[in-house]
């Protein structure tokens, strides 16, 4: 997923090979990660797809099943991965991930600590940000969850950038060998204040910490603990509002019914992401957008703090 050298970049010349991870796109809200293995098939409601048909195709191609159903084969990215990974825990989504990666000033070469690993949704984005020569040390309390994460990182090919440790960070803190090594630390723990003193020791001078918590009481307690050794303590919340588009016919002139300039929308959904309803081709049409009615109303609070320079 993350190129290890210039040849790994997405290119018009690259074709799907045996062993590649592809994202099979049915619809915006229906995708799946598949490892391409000659002889294997993918079966879904659109039919049976032979992997062997995929090999040699370009990424981004439309491929067909035996009964002419189709899907698209996309090159994986951390964003697509977030949409297809198995949820072993609540995961972080793109708005929080993007914001915290930028706020933590993570650039290539950085060393980043994360706890807990969870479903590894954030880890993949952290790996992308530190690549090609940085490293992510991620820790989870659960042995099995850590093992699943390792498998996933193997699958997505970020394993060279990530080390998964099994450790109770709240109880034991980060391992001593990482003291003073970290450019940034990310905590997603039920009681982050227990891990903050250790996180402070891991950070380089002027390094930044981020703690993600769903409840305000967790934030309040974390901030109290942060006051001791950190500065620039700031708490944010970020949400993403999505918009749907609709095409409407503009019937200019007065109809029988008064001044109906716009025909009522016809709800004919095509793809669900690309929410939009189509109108027949006759007549001049205009496109309008409005916010989708439902959204995630809250994910968590992001508290940032910078290690004080003493």
């Amino acid at each position: 997923m993350i190129p290890a050298d210039p040849s790994g970049r997405l290119s018009l010349l690259r074709r799907i090979q045996e062993g590649d991870l592809v994202i099979v796109y049915e619809r915006h809200d229906h995708m799946k990660a598949v490892k391409v293995i000659n002889g294997s098939v993918l079966q879904n409601r659109f039919g049976v797809f032979k992997h062997s048909d995929w090999i040699g195709k370009k990424f981004g191609s439309k491929v067909f099943s035996h009964k002419k159903g189709f899907v698209y084969l996309l090159a994986p990215t951390p964003e697509l991965w977030t949409l297809v990974l198995s949820h072993r825990t609540q995961i972080l989504y793109i708005a929080d991930i993007s914001f915290l990666v930028m706020y933590l000033e993570i650039v290539p070469g950085c060393v980043v600590l994360e706890s807990g690993t969870g479903s590894g949704s954030l880890t993949t984005s952290l790996a992308r940000a530190v690549a090609p020569m940085g490293h992510v040390h991620t820790f989870d309390f659960h042995e099995q969850r850590a093992a699943s994460a390792r498998e996933d990182f193997e699958k997505t090919g970020v394993n060279k950038l990530v080390t998964v440790g099994v450790r109770d960070i709240q109880g034991e803190g980060f391992p001593d060998e990482l003291i003073g090594q970290a450019d940034a630390v990310f905590l997603d723990l039920p009681q982050p204040w227990l891990a903050i003193p250790s996180a402070g020791k891991m950070l380089k001078a002027d390094g930044i910490l981020c703690s993600f918590s769903p409840c305000i009481e967790q934030v309040q307690r974390s901030c109290e603990t942060l006051e001791l050794k950190f500065t620039d303590i700031r708490t944010f919340e970020i949400l993403l509002r999505t918009y749907e588009i609709k095409e409407v016919r503009a019937e200019v002139g007065e109809g029988d019914d008064g001044f109906s300039l716009r025909s009522p929308p016809r709800k004919k959904r095509q793809h669900s992401t690309e929410k939009g309803s189509a109108v027949e081709a006759s007549g001049a049409t205009t496109v309008m957008a409005k916010p989708c009615s439902e959204t995630r109303g809250h994910t968590g609070y992001l508290t940032f703090a910078r290690l004080k320079c003493l």
Partner: protein, 437 residues
């Protein structure tokens, strides 16, 4: 990165720094040249003491024998003082007996000037003001803290030295000169980088009509690998002045190139000469910017006075960001396509741009388009859908909120930015016939 400066945690001569004065009250970008100065209040201080200090260091203005100078502050452990907004929460309830009038303070302005002349430090002046305030003792502990902080800002201003990363640069512009970056808020910029999958070794095509902030952000993420290609559609290249504020190493600078759309079309590459001209022209603008980002409106001219001092070190650099892309590179892109695309062109028609640029992307390449208005993105999305050029299309708008977290006084900030712009994102699909047999 093979460039010690890039990962250095200490400032160096010639490096670009962000000076945070009084905890965000004012933000100034400066370059640490030997002659560089900073005006704080009525005092002009040399920036020389900052050179070689760790990023994150704090300085205070002290009056020395040769005039005011910046003195390193040794931070102490313990409580930070945070700003409190104008809210009547529980703890404030007992301020009502307090009448705060001018007679509460017995020290006069003349007294303070006299103290200064005698070499009394700013901190000592603050303590003297507190001791001579007849109302200080009657204030709640919270109000006492506020009073101290207010006096400290005035009489003992602090300068915090920060390394300029993309977030702080973007935030500073957003607060002071939002129009120069097309009102692009840092959380929207962060989304653009994610949605366009900016990763090591990527060749990222950008249309950056927002002063170079997108170009700089992408270059920061590439860390000296891949390329960011700043493309202009007409003959005039777009300004990249903001790129200079980043502390980019030569390794990174050479990965930032310009290119004209025509150059990517078969058999065309004629606009190089003109671009070179534009480049040298824009240097002047750049220097003004570097000194000029000041959050307090009335300080602008003051900070701009640094510009002459800073011109030297900038031109010392061997490699300049934003050279014209070589023919070899252009050839590679023609063959391979770009790995992703970011568009931030507030005044251009989005759909026209996309029609021109999409053919230059690799299939499966993600793209992200920023715009201040919803309607152009809606129309572009509709056209991309209709012509089956891209999938996974989504228009999104980030909503960012900051909180004040203080004991018994926790609430969202009273002031907020209500708008960070809209983003249309998606993934290009393969439309070539050979793949649809």
């Amino acid at each position: 990165m093979g460039d010690s400066n890039q990962s250095s945690r200490l400032t160096w001569e010639g490096c670009s720094v962000l000076l945070d004065i009084n905890d965000g009250e004012r933000l100034v970008f400066a370059r640490l040249s030997p002659a560089a100065t900073l005006k704080i209040g009525k005092k002009n201080c040399s920036l020389q003491p900052i050179v070689g200090c760790p990023f994150g260091s704090s300085f205070r203005v002290e009056d020395g024998k040769d005039g005011p100078y910046l003195s390193l502050v040794v931070a102490t452990e313990g409580g930070n003082i945070q700003d409190e907004e104008n809210v009547t929460c529980e703890e404030l309830k007992d301020n009502r007996a307090l009448v705060d009038n001018n007679t509460a303070q017995s020290l006069t302005g003349d007294d303070i000037d006299e103290m200064r002349r005698q070499g009394v430090t700013g901190d000592q002046i603050v303590e003297a003001l507190i001791a001579n305030s007849t109302t200080f003792e009657k204030k709640t502990s919270f109000s006492q803290e506020k009073y101290r902080l207010r006096k400290q800002k005035k009489y003992a201003p602090r300068v915090l030295v920060r390394r300029p990363f993309v977030r702080s640069i973007c935030d500073a512009y957003f607060r002071k000169y939002p129009d120069r970056i097309g009102c692009l808020r840092s959380d929207s910029l962060a989304l653009l980088l994610s949605m366009a999958n900016v990763a090591a070794y990527s060749d990222v095509l950008v249309v950056d009509m927002v002063g170079g902030i997108v170009t700089g952000a992408v270059a920061e993420r590439l860390g000296g690998t891949g390329y960011v290609c700043n493309m202009h559609l007409g003959v005039t290249p777009h300004s990249m002045e903001i790129v200079r504020i980043f502390n980019f190493s030569n390794d990174i600078c050479k990965r930032i190139v310009r290119c004209c759309l025509n150059d990517l079309c078969p058999g065309q590459n004629g606009s190089h000469a003109q671009i070179q001209n534009m480049e040298s022209e824009s240097v002047n603008q750049l220097d003004v910017m570097e000194g000029g980002i000041s959050v307090k409106e009335n300080r602008t001219t003051v900070d701009a006075s640094n510009k002459t001092a800073k011109r030297d070190p900038t031109t010392n650099k061997a490699i300049k960001a934003g050279e014209v892309a070589s023919e070899e590179l252009i050839g590679l892109w023609k063959e391979r396509g770009f790995s992703s695309l970011i568009v931030a062109a507030p005044d251009l028609d989005v759909w026209s741009i996309m029609q021109k640029l999409l053919p230059h992307l690799a299939y499966s390449a993600p793209f992200a388009i920023y715009h201040q208005y919803l309607q152009p993105l809606a129309e572009c999305m509709h056209n991309l859908q209709r012509e089956k050029i891209a999938i996974g299309l989504q228009i999104s708008e980030p909503w960012l909120r900051e909180y004040q977290v203080l004991p018994s006084r926790t609430h969202p900030r009273m002031q907020m930015s209500a708008f960070g712009g809209y983003i249309l994102s998606g993934t290009v699909i393969c439309t070539s016939e050979s793949d649809v047999q």
